[in-house]
């Protein structure tokens, strides 16, 4: 007939493939290539410039023997759990409140969302200031007469990471609220009617019916929050520079510091490889389940 051979696989859907070249290049060259490059050089003793002097796993032995790295990991875990839990909880509660057909919804929403427009650098600076024990919140309350009042998270090693979380939540929950609100708006009104007729209390409806229905929203939200958590850097630098001491160090900062301050690229790369590895272990299987299924052809 008109075509006797099946068209070559490669040229089927050609336009889509051509259009995806930037994505493919980014994925392969930048993300895969860059990552492979990083991993490769993590086995070297590169200092200021990348060089291929292999030293095996030395950088990794050293990494895991470094107290600062261990503190960084611990901080990231605490910060991650706090961010994740509170972002979702606060974001959802605010969204649920805004979804009650309230007055001034626009105003409230704008108030909750605006911090997201500000960079982490700005956020860090402002909160560094608000949490300054001398003239921030603690200072003001002490001046009001409550002299024993203590709220100085940024200057207290054991709670400094919570101080950073406060700022992070301030900056980030607005977006989460928006996502959640959008998700809530997407829920069929009939569900609410059904729950009301059945006499299910509102909180139960949310917990057992609405939230499970919002799975896709939660997934997008999780991607956004989690990627932000792993990458947290600017905020810490702007707010505490990792201090007091090394109490608020985070892995991304360790990577940066060792690559550029300490001029020990190998060590920095080893640390980033560990970060990547842990991200991959969690993300890749999930991403395959989530996005790999052929929902359409």
């Amino acid at each position: 007939m008109s075509k006797s051979e099946r068209p070559s696989r490669l040229f089927r859907n050609l336009n889509a493939k051509v259009a995806s070249i930037p994505m493919i290049l980014t994925a392969l060259v930048v993300f895969v290539g860059g990552t492979a490059w990083t991993v490769l050089y993590s086995f070297t003793n590169s200092k200021l410039l990348p060089r291929l002097n292999f030293v095996g796993l030395d950088q990794y032995y050293r990494l895991w023997a470094t107290p600062r790295w261990l503190i960084s990991i611990e901080n990231l875990l605490i910060y991650g759990v706090i961010s994740l839990v509170f972002s979702l909880v606060i974001g959802f509660i605010l969204a649920a409140l805004l979804d009650q057909k309230i007055r001034f919804e626009d105003t409230f929403r704008t108030i909750f969302l605006y911090p997201f427009a500000l960079s982490f650098i700005v956020t860090g600076l402002v909160w560094q200031w608000l949490l300054n024990p001398d003239f921030g919140i603690q200072g003001v309350i002490r001046k009001l007469g409550w002299t024993s009042f203590a709220f100085d998270p940024l200057y207290n090693s054991s709670i400094v990471i919570y101080g950073i979380s406060i700022a992070a939540l301030w900056q980030g929950t607005g977006l989460i609220m928006c996502l959640m609100l959008a998700g809530l708006r997407g829920i069929d009104e009939d569900i609410w009617k059904a729950a009301r007729v059945d006499g299910i209390p509102m909180w139960k409806t949310y917990l057992f019916i609405i939230i499970p229905m919002m799975r896709p929203v939660f997934i997008t939200t999780l991607v956004i929050i989690a990627s932000g958590i792993v990458k947290v850097y600017d905020l810490v630098v702007a707010q505490t520079s990792g201090g007091p001491g090394i109490a608020s160090e985070v892995p991304a900062k360790y990577v940066y510091d060792y690559m550029f301050f300490a001029q020990n690229l190998g060590q920095g790369f080893a640390a980033s490889t560990m970060m990547l590895l842990s991200v991959m272990i969690v993300i890749v299987p999930w991403a395959y389940l989530e996005f790999g299924g052929r929902k359409r052809v």
Partner: protein, 367 residues
């Protein structure tokens, strides 16, 4: 199945798999020029998938598709000479009706006057002239579907594909548009392939119906044949509303073949067996449509009669459906709307086994 000499659409050994899941299995279908074919089946039977394969919107795994004698298996949808109407109308929301209609023609680069001519014709046929400058959001559901049909119309093609076009409409509009589609077919004499799960649409519109299940065509025949002589229990049960009565039992041994179930014995001497009647004691299912059941005095004349009592009465307006028990099974039949029956009334029913269907229980096939 009669060979069609010059099929308009011919599907040969078509298969479609998603990984290990087989959606369509070695399917063959020849459609004659100008024929109105309805693909009927429950959701998930593969009927829409088959239509999308014909349209070229899905890549098939195996087999070939011919339209007008041309192998279009690997052709783009636009090159197949088809027009398609979708369930959700799929009108481009940002374009006016006119732009919606002309979009495909503009893409194809047709001259302006030709486009105008075709739109005028389609608008005239579908009576949507006053709507041409409106956006789809300003149209009612029926109007939208007319525009969607118009979009297929202007393409001036040989084969029209309808993917459940009336499912999103209310009952009244549905029957109106059904008639219009029938008229359209009469006027255009195009080949039309129509996917639906609605048996009324199928019965009223089709020259032939293909009943599908599990990616396989169960029966392909004229509507009356399918209705009266379903090839298997699935087809029998799927068509007809209210549904056919089924009584499970077995073939009686002895010279006068009969069907027995739970104290009922139905003589089968008037029944036309499809194949060999099989051995005695063979488990089978007896099916009879409610409208083939006589009641009262009329029942007495029937080869088979039985006494029973009314259980539920369902007035339908035009007639009334009465539920009773036969052979231990729920059994329904129709009576005129004027008859007043109450629950518990003793009744006599009867029918002619010649109008019944008998299916083999394990395979479900017609005996």
């Amino acid at each position: 199945m009669a060979e069609i000499a010059n099929p308009s659409v011919s599907i040969q050994n078509l298969s479609l798999n998603y990984g290990a899941v087989s959606v369509l299995q070695t399917l063959n279908l020849d459609i004659a020029e100008g024929e109105f074919i309805v693909l009927l089946g429950p959701s998930g039977c593969g009927k829409s998938t088959l239509l999308n394969c014909i349209a070229g919107l899905l890549d098939i795994s195996k087999g070939r598709i011919f339209i007008k004698g041309k192998n279009v298996t690997w052709e783009e949808p636009k090159d197949r000479g088809i027009g398609m109407v979708f369930q959700s109308y799929a009108l481009y929301p940002q374009m006016t009706v006119e732009k919606n209609l002309s979009f495909g023609l503009r893409v194809a680069g047709l001259p302006k006057d030709e486009i105008a001519k075709r739109i005028a014709r389609a608008a005239e046929i579908l009576q949507i002239e006053p709507l041409l400058q409106r956006k789809p959001s300003a149209l009612s559901g029926g109007q939208r579907q007319r525009v969607a049909i118009g979009r297929a119309l202007v393409r001036d093609v040989d084969v029209f594909l309808f993917d459940e076009p009336l499912s999103n409409l209310d009952a009244k509009l549905r029957s109106e548009l059904r008639v219009e589609i029938k008229l359209l077919h009469r006027r255009l004499q195009n080949t039309m392939i129509y996917v639906t799960h609605d048996q009324i649409e199928a019965m009223t519109l089709a020259d032939r119906i293909a009943v599908m299940k599990g990616g396989v065509i169960q029966q392909l025949d004229a509507p009356q044949t399918i209705y009266n002589r379903p090839v298997n229990r699935f087809v029998a049960g799927f068509l007809g509303s209210p549904a056919m009565n089924f009584i499970e039992g077995q073939l009686e041994a002895g010279d006068a073949a009969a069907f027995t179930a739970d104290g009922v014995s139905i003589p089968l001497d008037r029944y036309e067996f499809d194949k060999d009647r099989g051995s005695a004691g063979k488990p089978c299912v007896f099916g009879i449509r409610p409208e083939h059941v006589a009641f009262g005095d009329a029942a007495k004349a029937m080869p088979f009669t039985a006494e029973s009592a009314v259980e539920i009465v369902e007035p339908m307006g035009s007639d009334t459906l009465v539920w009773t028990k036969l052979g231990g099974r729920n059994f329904s039949f129709r009576v005129e709307a004027e008859k007043t029956l109450r629950t518990g009334d003793p009744i006599r029913i009867g029918f002619d086994p010649a109008r019944a269907s008998l299916f083999d229980t394990p395979s479900g096939n017609r005996l």
